[in-house]
Symmetry: C2
């Protein structure tokens, strides 16, 4: 910067003002911009961060084991979306995977150390020590998905799981199915529980608790087990709402083995619109989760908190269009 000032014949202070805004005359600005181009000047982030007490970095916290991270069909798109927004705003995105207890310790230290100005938190559970740390540090943050009850001060971006589940179940019912069941996964998470709630609301009087198979995870194997259970308790089942596309794929496999045609004998719908949905045969009718948009919005919410002149942002619920393919 010193060199730029010398080349332009002006002081350091004015160069700084050109870069950061302030009263600068047109001539001075022109001279300095020419000098910057000539010298090939690039501001030094470390020095800037030092004096500003900022790091220009936002942490992307995934509170999940490494293996599940890769299985999750949405997380990659969420990361990508967040990264897009952050990099345009000249912020770095730092990935922090919290798997073991050792990670928790390391990441906690990292967050406390001022290495990041804010955080995006994915798949937080209730009572997670990390979320407590964030709340205590008053670190600008945003949850993806419903946050644990404790920290209502931190905004979140997500989708209306109950409403979406209700909508697609109603659509499935409208195709004339009489015995509609659900493979309900991950009921220990709000997303899983909400999808079941929506399903129940859609059926109203016709809801039959025997036609709900509860399975632990959103994965293929759970779909296989859930569908077997449903077929056993009601052989005449002709419609299935699977809590995720992977679950639906597992269910379709069981139906095929049982000689049931999809959608001729059984109509089936999923949730996520992930890569599974177009890989099944026939392709899956499902609820589209705008994962990239979720990531973008999460990043925006963090950045907005970083600009202290703006008010605390409200939560964001994104629309989830139904994608109707051939499975129902």
């Amino acid at each position: 910067m010193h060199d730029v000032a010398a080349a332009a014949g002006i002081s350091r202070g004015t160069v700084s003002r050109v870069l950061n805004g302030g009263y600068v005359s047109a001539e001075a600005r022109a001279a300095i911009e020419a000098a910057i181009a000539e010298v090939g000047y690039v501001p030094n982030t470390a020095a800037r961060n030092l004096v500003r007490r900022r790091s220009q970095a936002v942490g992307f916290l995934a509170l999940e084991p490494h293996s599940l991270l890769l299985e999750d069909p949405n997380i990659g798109a969420i990361m990508l979306g967040a990264n897009e927004v952050l990099s345009v705003a000249d912020h770095q995105m730092v990935n922090l995977v919290v798997d073991s207890a050792r990670d928790t310790e390391r990441v906690t230290r990292y967050l406390s150390g001022g290495f990041v100005d804010g955080a995006i938190i994915v798949s937080a559970r209730t009572h997670d020590p990390i979320t407590r740390v964030i709340a205590e540090l008053k670190l600008p943050a945003t949850f993806v998905g419903h946050p644990p009850d404790l920290h209502r001060s931190i905004p979140f971006v997500g989708i209306d799981n109950a409403g979406s589940a209700r909508a697609i179940t109603e659509r499935l019912a409208a195709t004339g199915r009489r015995h509609i069941g659900m493979i309900a996964a991950a009921l220990d998470r709000d997303s899983g529980a909400d999808r079941l709630t929506g399903f129940r609301a859609a059926l109203g009087e016709r809801f039959d608790p025997r036609l709900v198979a509860e399975v632990p995870l959103y994965d293929y194997a759970s779909g296989v087990n859930g569908m077997r259970e449903l077929l056993e308790s009601e052989p005449g089942i002709d419609g299935v709402f699977a809590a995720s596309d992977a679950v639906a794929a597992g269910a379709m496999e069981v139906l095929r083995d049982a000689g049931r045609g999809v959608p001729s004998d059984v109509g089936i719908v999923g949730f996520d619109d992930s890569s599974w949905a177009t890989r099944t045969q026939p392709p899956l009718s499902t609820v589209h989760q705008p994962a990239r948009e979720i990531g973008r919005n999460a990043a925006e919410l963090v950045l907005r908190q970083l600009r202290d002149d703006e008010p605390a942002p409200a939560n964001v619920l994104l629309p989830t269009p139904i994608v109707w393919r051939a499975s129902a």
Copy 2:
């Protein structure tokens, strides 16, 4: 740091030596460590980076459009592996997706500006402007996969595509298949071309150019088209080596529609051991790509270049075990 020094009754310099190594007496060390714990001291990265002229960050360059990024079955695991190694070594990983020409400009500026100490480059093409920039800056870097011919100075980590293709083709042939074809994808990349080379080598005299279907991408749709082509040119085909698992999945779909049993009528093998491999019915026999290990090794190679006392690292080729499932 000043506070720590005061609390321990010793000077700043000695505190610095405790943190960075140097002559320190046992008593002084103990006193300072106690003071650090008491004060809750965390070194300031910005100040350290400023004086050391380091950023403690490594760029992860993906030279691919956003959409393909998510389709790629390996890239997530590579990122995860690299991130693991880097974070343990107290380095940040900065994701840089180069999609448009605007990205190229932004990322070039980023790399030149000393924002990163090194780079990991994924899916580079020949003559990519970014790789030229890296070579000119003499930025410590590592390629994932074969680098473009130009920059032999930069090491790479990858797998032996030709050898692996040869091995699994031989294994397929050993099951007694007479008419073995290949769906060869992405021949404009070295990985694609090498897999075809390996296939040809395995068959030797028995190689029949009519039984090679060339398709543009490593994806499902290419598998569908490739398999149709093979069935047309040789209805008696009883073995297929698909250039990727996604291609194999597409091929299996076509075989099912054509009423051919897998593996009873046609044995089929893939490449990658990605999530596709366990989602097909029957599950796919394939070549395992150690993606997470590739990421780890790439990060190691960059870190080694950063420790200037060590010699320039050599390339790394990782082993690719065959995973034999039920499709052949």
